[in-house]
Amino acid sequence: MRNSKTFIRMSGLGGQGVVTAAHILGVAAVKSGLKCTVNPFFGAEKRLAPTESYVRIAAEDIWERGEVLFPNIILIFHPHVITLGKCYTMPFFAGLQQGGKIIINADRPLDLREEELARLRGLDAEVYYVPATQVAVEAGGTALSTNIAILGALLAVEELVSQEAIRDAIAERFGGGKFVASGTTAVLDDVLKSKFDRLAQLIEKNMAVVAAAGGSVSQYHFGV
C-alpha cells in the first residue's frame, strides 16, 4: 500500500451492489492482514436511490466511524451519480484529498463543468473511466457484476489487496467455505456440494470480470 491509510467512498444507485462491493473489499483487506472497517450510508434502502458505502483500510487500528468525509479514493458506480446528482455528497468529489483518485463507471468521459475540472486539477486528482457495466455484461454475463468490475478497476489503479484476496472474499460473501465447514450431515453436504459447483462458477465469472475491468481502465487527461 502506498499510504498507511486509505479511505474510500463508493457512490452509486440502489441495487448496483455498492454495499456488497464495500463488504467484499473489506473482507479482502482483513484477509490480507490489514485493519478495516466498512459501513453503508445510513438510510432506508430502495432501488435506484442514491447509495453510498465507505471502506477504511489501514495498517494500524482504525477507530473513526461514520461517513468518510475526506476520501483518498472515490468510486462512482453510475454516471447518474454525477449527471443527475444522485448522490448524498455534492459535488461527487467533495472532500477528496490532494492527489486522490476517482474511478467512474462510464463508457466515455463525462461532460464535467469547467469549474469542476479546474477544482479536480487543483487537487492534483487522478480521474479514471471504466465501462464497468459493459465489462460486467461481457465478461460476467450479468450487469449484477458491475460492482465487481469497479473493484477490478480499483485494483488496477491502486493495489490495495491482491486478486486472490478478492477471490476469497467473494467466495465467503456468497456462502462458500463458511457453510461447507459447518455442514455436519450427509444430506447437508450434498446440498452444499451442488451449491458449491454453482458457487465455483460464480467466483470464476467474477474473477474474469475483475481481470477484464483492470484492462479497460483509462486515465482521463485534463489537458492544459
Binding site: 463488504h23 473489506g26 473482507v27 482483513v30 485493519k35 478495516c36 472497517t37 466498512v38 459501513n39 453503508p40 445510513f42 438510510g43 432506508a44 477507530w63 473513526e64 466511524r65 461514520g66 461517513e67 468525509l69 475526506f70 455436519t184
Partner: protein, 394 residues
C-alpha cells in the same frame, strides 16, 4: 448447534477461553451474544436500525437457541410482554431504537419497579422531526432515571461483550434490575469491523429465578400483589410510603451493582494516560472518534488522556472525580444535542468550569476528528491553560 452447547462459568466465557476474530456488523454481534446467553425468550418489533439484529435473533430461535420468539404488536406491547416473560422466571432479551424506546417508555420504570433483570439493547437513533433514522443518543438522556442499569458500548466488540455481561450483572440477587445496553445506531449496528468471539458451543449458566430477591409471578405476593391491588387507589399514607421505600430499594440495588460491574466489566470507566492535564471524556461511538482525535493532538505535541465511560447508570461518580482530580480541561464530545454526558460529569466533579461540552453532533451527522481537535484547541485558548500564569486568575 443449539443442542450441543455447554454451560460454563461466566468468567470463563468472558475471558478464560481463546477467541477467534471475525469481521461482522454490530447487528451480527448482537446475535452472537444472544446465541451464547442461554436466553429463554426474545420478543421483537422491528425499527431501523434495530431490525437486523432482532431478525438475526429470530434466526437463532429457528435454530433452536431460544425457547420462544415472536413479533409483538408494537414496542409498548413488546416491552410489556418481555416484562411478563421475566416475571414468569425466564431470561429474556429484546431491542429497540429511538421512537420505539419512547413509545415503550412507560414500561422501563415498571421493569425496574418489579425488579426484573430484562436485558434490552437500544440502537440509539434520532427521535425528532424532520424524520431521522440516523444515529444519535438523546434517548439515553430520557432513560437516566428509570431505574435501569445503563451500559454504553463503543463498538461491535463492546456490544457483544456488554450484552452477555449485562445478563450476569442484572441477575445478581442483590441487584436484580433491568439492564439497557446502548449503542449508537448505524455507527455500530451497520458497520463491519473485527470482533473476537469465543467458541459458540459455550453458553452462560441458565437463569435461576429461585435466586431472585422477588418471587416469580405470583398474584398473591408483593410486588405483584401490589400491582394487582394498587395501594395508590387507597390514597393514604401507606401508599406513598410503600412506593417511596420500594423506590429507594431500586436505587440501592443499582448502587450494589457497582461491585459486579467492576468484577465483570473491569470497572465503570476506563482511563488512558491518567496523568494527563487534558482529557477527552466520552461514551459510545464518541470514544472511537476521540481515539482518532488523540492521535492528532499527540502528533501536535498536545498531551491528552481519554476517559471512556462504560456504565452510565450507575454513574461512575467517584471514578470521574478521581480521574479528573488533576485535570485542567475535560472536553466531552457527544452524539446528541442535549449534552447529557457533559451535564452528568459537571454534576459529579468540582470546579466544573473545566468541562467543555462539545462537539455535539446529531441527526446522523458524522463527527469529524477535526471538530474534537478544534474544541480542545479553542478551549485551551479560552481557559488559558496554555499559559498557567493566566489561569491562576480565573
Amino acid at each position: 448447534m443449539a443442542g450441543l452447547q455447554r454451560e460454563v462459568d461466566p468468567e470463563y466465557l468472558f475471558s478464560g477461553v481463546p477467541r477467534r476474530q471475525v469481521f461482522i456488523t454490530g447487528s451480527e454481534a448482537v446475535a452472537e451474544a444472544v446465541k451464547r446467553a442461554n436466553a429463554d425468550m426474545a420478543i421483537a418489533y422491528p425499527i431501523t436500525p434495530q431490525s437486523e439484529s432482532m431478525h438475526l435473533v429470530g434466526d437463532l430461535f429457528a435454530q433452536g437457541y431460544l425457547k420462544d420468539y415472536y413479533r409483538g404488536e408494537n414496542e409498548f406491547a413488546v416491552m410489556a410482554a418481555v416484562h411478563g416473560a421475566s416475571l414468569g422466571g425466564g431470561r429474556v432479551f429484546t431491542a429497540t431504537s429511538g421512537p420505539g424506546t419512547l413509545r415503550a417508555m412507560e414500561m422501563f420504570p415498571v421493569w425496574a419497579g418489579s425488579r426484573q433483570p430484562i436485558v434490552c439493547a437500544f440502537m440509539c437513533r434520532g427521535v425528532s422531526l424532520p424524520p431521522s433514522i440516523q444515529p444519535e443518543n438523546i434517548e439515553m438522556a430520557m432513560l437516566l432515571d428509570t431505574g435501569m442499569l445503563m451500559f454504553h458500548a463503543e463498538d461491535a466488540q463492546d456490544l457483544y461483550d456488554l450484552i452477555l455481561r449485562a445478563f450476569v450483572i442484572a441477575e445478581q440477587p442483590d441487584v436484580h434490575l433491568p439492564a439497557g445496553v446502548f449503542v449508537d445506531g448505524f455507527f455500530v449496528t451497520h458497520t463491519r469491523s473485527a470482533v473476537a468471539l469465543p467458541p459458540d458451543d459455550l453458553k452462560l449458566p441458565a437463569y435461576d429465578p429461585r435466586r431472585a430477591p422477588v418471587p416469580t409471578f405470583d398474584m398473591e405476593t408483593p410486588p405483584i400483589r401490589i400491582v394487582r391491588d394498587p395501594l395508590l387507589n387507597k390514597s393514604n399514607f401507606i401508599s406513598y410510603s410503600a412506593n417511596a421505600s420500594w423506590h429507594q430499594e431500586i436505587v440501592a440495588a443499582a448502587e450494589r451493582a457497582r461491585k459486579h460491574i467492576r468484577r465483570y466489566m473491569g470497572g465503570l470507566l476506563e482511563v488512558e494516560d491518567p496523568y494527563a492535564k487534558i482529557f477527552l471524556a466520552a461514551s459510545g461511538t464518541a470514544v472511537s472518534q476521540s481515539r482518532e482525535a488523540l492521535k492528532v493532538l499527540r502528533s501536535e505535541g498536545i498531551r491528552a488522556g481519554l476517559i471512556k465511560i462504560k456504565s452510565v447508570r450507575p454513574f461512575p461518580t467517584e471514578e470521574i472525580v478521581a480521574a479528573t482530580a488533576h485535570a485542567e480541561l475535560i472536553v466531552v464530545p457527544e452524539f446528541n444535542i442535549g449534552g447529557w454526558l457533559a451535564r452528568e460529569i459537571k454534576a459529579a466533579i468540582d470546579n466544573n468550569r473545566r468541562v467543555v461540552g462539545g462537539p455535539r453532533l446529531f441527526g446522523g451527522m458524522t463527527m469529524p476528528t477535526e471538530l474534537i481537535v478544534n474544541e480542545v484547541r479553542n478551549a485551551l485558548d479560552w481557559s488559558g491553560a496554555k499559559r498557567p500564569d493566566l489561569r491562576a486568575g480565573i
